[in-house]
């Protein structure tokens, strides 16, 4: 990347993520050269070897745009969030993990003790002494340290103020390219940026609005599971076929990719515009299509959704009003008091 003081500075960072967000950026393919031509990339661990101390040495507010992906799973993640917040003009919570916790946020249903007990006593683990990783361990040659993790995974805006949110697991590449263009256009004065706190790089309605499937019947008498009905009718709404599709509560912008290939929306773009709690909205949407009046009948239909917390909070548990199980919260409180 060339160094040119007149170009806006760009950074991208991962905290607790899978790397899919970086892949999504790389998947803008040739447009990556546009990024290179129009931004000065000053920090991007996947692509270059700038070090922490180099970031620390940058003047506060000198990075124009930081795409921050990944959740906050440990203190290192949180320190980087504070550092980049300080250095950055527009801090974007990039991708589902940073916005709302994503799948790793489901760990908030368990305590650290339960997570460790599972990982180090699996069927293939030979661990008669019940050895556990120690945050500090004295080897014959000296002390060794590994970081302790937070009992509860946090979203980016639970530790620092965030300017914009860009949802998706991962965000779609065409949306990424569009956002990079938008920032440049705003800088040239050709357009203005939306108010801080807005969602960018996504639509403002629901996945259903982008879904080509037809909605006719409106009501269902049972939920079914995809493996029991696949291949589904190629033209009819999945929810109307009884498949618990999260489209009605999920923000659009992905192009309804999953429903187009006969798989239900699982909600990776997070809550639609104006929705305070994703799970509550989805429950309302499901309730509105259930064709039953008797409590027993309603009960039977709802039994068709075998994992309620997973269905309604699959991607957004950490960012929802619930955030975590009581036991995980208790562990979090205990760690804070230490």
């Amino acid at each position: 990347m060339s160094t040119n003081g007149s170009k806006p500075k760009f950074a991208m960072y991962w905290a607790a993520s899978c790397g899919g967000c970086e892949i999504a950026v790389l998947n803008i393919h040739e447009k990556i050269l546009v990024l290179d031509a129009n931004y000065e990339v000053v920090f991007w661990p996947v692509a270059m070897d700038t070090k922490y101390k180099d970031v620390e040495a940058m003047p506060d507010g000198s990075i124009m745009l930081t795409l921050f992906n990944g959740g906050i799973r440990n203190s290192e993640n949180e320190e980087m969030a504070h550092l980049l917040r300080r250095k950055t003009q527009y801090l974007v919570a990039f991708g589902s993990c940073a916005c709302e916790g994503c799948i790793p946020g489901l760990a908030n249903l368990s305590t650290p003790q339960q997570i460790f007990d599972t990982a180090y006593q699996t069927v293939s683990t030979d661990n008669p002494q019940n050895v556990r990783p120690q945050f500090t361990w004295t080897a014959p040659e000296g002390d060794l340290h590994i970081p302790a993790f937070y009992p509860v995974l946090k979203t980016l805006d639970q530790v620092v103020p965030v300017d914009y949110y860009m949802p998706g697991c991962p965000p779609e590449s065409h949306q990424i390219a569009a956002v990079l263009d938008l920032i440049l256009a705003a800088r040239r004065g050709e357009t203005s940026l939306p108010p801080k706190g807005s969602v960018i790089g996504a639509g403002s309605t629901t996945v259903c609005d982008e879904c080509p499937r037809q909605r006719n019947v409106k009501t269902i008498t049972r939920f079914t599971r995809i493996q029991d009905v696949a291949p589904v009718d190629p033209d009819l709404c999945l929810l109307e076929q009884g498949v618990p599709c999260n489209g009605p509560a999920t923000r659009n912008g992905c192009g309804a990719r999953c429903p187009r290939v006969g798989a239900q929306c699982i909600g990776c773009y997070g809550p639609a515009e104006g929705v305070l709690d994703y799970g509550a909205r989805l429950m309302t949407a499901f309730a509105s299509v259930i064709d039953a009046k008797e409590p027993a009948e309603i009960e039977r239909i709802l039994d068709g959704i075998p994992d309620l917390v997973g269905q309604f909070y699959r991607f957004n548990l950490a960012g929802s009003l619930l955030r975590a199980s009581k036991a995980a919260w208790a562990a979090q409180q205990a760690q804070q008091e230490d």
């Binding site: 899919g20 999504a24 790389l26 070090k51 922490y52 699996t122 000296g142």
Partner: protein, 500 residues
Amino acid sequence: MQRISIDPITRLEGHGKIEIFLDAEGNVANTYFQIPELRGFERFCVGRPIEEMPLLTNRICGVCPEAHHMAAAKAADAVYHVDPPSVAKKLRELLYMAFFFTDHTTHFYALGGPDFVMGPDAPVAERNILGVIHKVGLEIGGQVIQARKYGHTVVEMIGGRKVHPCTAIPGGITKGITEEQRQEIENMGRWAVAFAEFSLKLFNDIVLGNKAYVDLIVGDTYYHRTYYIGLVDENNRVNFYDGKVSVVAPDGERIGKYAPGEYTDWIAEHVEPWTYLKFPYLKKVGWKGFVDGKDSGVYCATPLSRLNAADGMATPRAQEEYERFYDTLIQAEEEVYTSTGPTRVVHHRLATHWARLIELLYAAERWVELATDPEITSPNVHTVPKEKPTEGVGIVEAPRGTLTHHYWTDERGIVTKVNLIVGTTNNYAPISMSIKKAAQSLIKKGTVVTEGLLNMVEMAFRAYDPCFGCATHSLPGQMPLEVTIRDAEGNPVDVLRQFC
């Protein structure tokens, strides 16, 4: 110029921390390769419906979600005791070949290749993908981008999405492909074969044509005699999607093959208190610590391992390259005759880069084979599971090693227990050993530790293409590599850090 890589895998070397301890003489006493995080997928997947496992476990790794998607789907098939229609299995495999092609391309051109194309002690600013493009020509850079694009296009056509595919479900997949799509996939596959041929020629010209590099490959610094494992078909040819896992001893003898459901008879995992990652080993041989040889259960699962564990490749051009590989690296007198016939095993870790290119060619050839299969456009892509779900194991070869998913469910198909042994995890012990050996042979009393030297240590594990974000079900991030060198009293002498 700053370093640029288009390869996210660089970060996946990541989040490792190496501690090197020196003795009183200033020589290397010991090294520790620590993996500092854990995510707990095995815990929080409990309670989820089995059909979501291919979607949830995708999120273990955004670089190889296809591998988790397929292993999970196969394990879910096994849970339901359902055999998907052959076209469903072929479509899954076709997606998987395109993924392998993309992933191996990325590794060679952006991660492992620069060490060879540019030279291991080339200036750091040139030892990257841009350096490679400068050396081999801008047109090649465009082709590398094209290769990634084609691979992702096929993944999206069959899997519905470029990252985190969504179509594999228990009993098959959700949707077939049209004739128009098939034609496009075939065309891209033919281009992929030519690109793989070109890549092998490039390796041949630049690396094998340079005596210094060949000496580096066959030298002692990067040499380990371990067991090898890899998935093979019924003819003992390398397979990425299906088959049994072949286990080969350091002397080349095949000590057995196991079906997915038998993996706990063969593999066990050792726990150390100084790292979050476990160390798998061969149960029948036993954990003897970080040592080479036939008496140590340490094994390796990499492109080199897959070639060593198999008798050949299932496609014609890859087979020719397989022959050339062993003919070049093994002298005839070294060939070992064992109870399982004449076998040839290469222990030189840097040869993994070459093995990866042979696999690249196989993936491309197999891509074309599947795209031209007469039934590939059949709409019969799913079998509805009828049996009661119980327990099942799914195994595929991830680019970085054998990937095992094992699930238990209740009678409704709700997950009650999960066990994962993921690609790179297999190689944690051998990588640790490679780092120690490289450090010991490169850092001696009175040596000035330079960046170039650090890179030579790094090369020891780069050959494995490690993916620790994925392997540990842990969180990739911050600091791909931090090396602390300590004196005999344990005081830090120097700390070297780098992001990629």
